[in-house]
Symmetry: C2
Amino acid sequence: MKLSVIGLGLMGGSMALSLKSVYKDWQIIGYDHSQSHKEEALRLNLVDKVAETFEEVKNSDIIILAIPVEGIINALQNLSDIDKNVTIIDLGSTKEKIIKNTPPTIRKNLVAAHPMAGTENTGPKAAFDSLYQDKVVVLCDIEDSGKHQRMIAEDIFKKLRMQIVYMNSKEHDLHAAYISHLPHAISFSLANSVLKQEDPKSILALAGGGFKSMSRIAKSSPVMWSDIFKQNRKNLLKTLDTFQNELDYMKDLIENEKWEDLQEWMKKANSLHDIL
Amino acid sequence: MKLSVIGLGLMGGSMALSLKSVYKDWQIIGYDHSQSHKEEALRLNLVDKVAETFEEVKNSDIIILAIPVEGIINALQNLSDIDKNVTIIDLGSTKEKIIKNTPPTIRKNLVAAHPMAGTENTGPKAAFDSLYQDKVVVLCDIEDSGKHQRMIAEDIFKKLRMQIVYMNSKEHDLHAAYISHLPHAISFSLANSVLKQEDPKSILALAGGGFKSMSRIAKSSPVMWSDIFKQNRKNLLKTLDTFQNELDYMKDLIENEKWEDLQEWMKKANSLHDIL
């Protein structure tokens, strides 16, 4: 089996690395528009070889798209003449727009997946082979994928020891906005709130675990995240409204010194403990 | 030397435990208004013994106040007749109001400290002996503490391998609002944003590392945090304004699809990397 990973950053690099150890007889090929990423991926042994051109990867049994979501849409246009037995798996954080923009000729080839895994680090050197292990992967609108493609994708994610969740792409995009895109938007905002102060260094010198947790994902890639915000704009704006309402409610309690109500509101937040 | 720790939760319990291993010949006494906390602290070997009443602890060389900030102010009133050689160290997250409410008779006894350490867990069982190690501790308005008391406190924090930072209490409270209180306010708000959705469980089933980081401190104690918000109300409101402005700015960029400006703004947030 010949499998190509397009995009050799954190997501693609980790995917290639994990697949190599699970499917020892497969040939794992990497492609990235950045020459230095390709060289790094080879040096770090993330892939068996790298393809020189995007055309080369078309000749694969499985193609994994691990690039920013706008790039995924472009790549899918370039794959519109792919053989009907090829499996394409995209790992994008948004799903509705990607599926909508998939050429109808290759809709059955595509399995639209969102692995709920990641770190704030980028590039091939950020890759590690346990990134996906024990994480959730959401497969969207799976009934529109080919039977063969579905089987291939499910086998891959199971072998990576991931928990598969099925969801329609509309629902996924709203859920993903709450669980991933909104938290990133908040973390970027918190980081910039502190950085614009007169002396951010002396504030940051006091940072303990709380601030570090809350600002970690503010180090994430601007290209990748502005793309996600673009594709999931409406849902993100909706979740931002919800969040701003909570902030306003809390602020009102603090302004009006309603400390008991504030405690009740905090207790509600604590109940996250029971679910997560 | 006889040292008493008032409050046997995460902060006090961890303090007692670390001090026991550093000062092997000291007697470490614990006090807590909760009987079960006292029993648990003894069972977990956090302290050598527990005091039955608050009066008993007055007869100590060193008294550490590791209780919610409103409780610290009350305790200080009850300690107003303490011997002039006793060292009182409070570990509260706010400093200006505590210092302002310290009886003048014991102002020299007090060293106002804020260790930038903690977790979302509470109670004696949350205590662990490396909580303070390699963390920052802020000592406020130290020139108003007695020379003896300052020496005792500095020795303790150095032995715990903490990095001591000196600051006036006004500046501390604003810095602490940005670095600790605002992040908690945001985390509580994020948790409640998701929890109030129709089906929070199916959203939370998708939680990856990002959401877990961002919501971890929303599990913190409501009593402790409403007290902190109360004491640092003005600074917290100020930092909330700053944060809401950042959110509004970002939201405007998203609404008006200014993706390049959004990337620039995210890049600014990334620069946190260079400092933290």
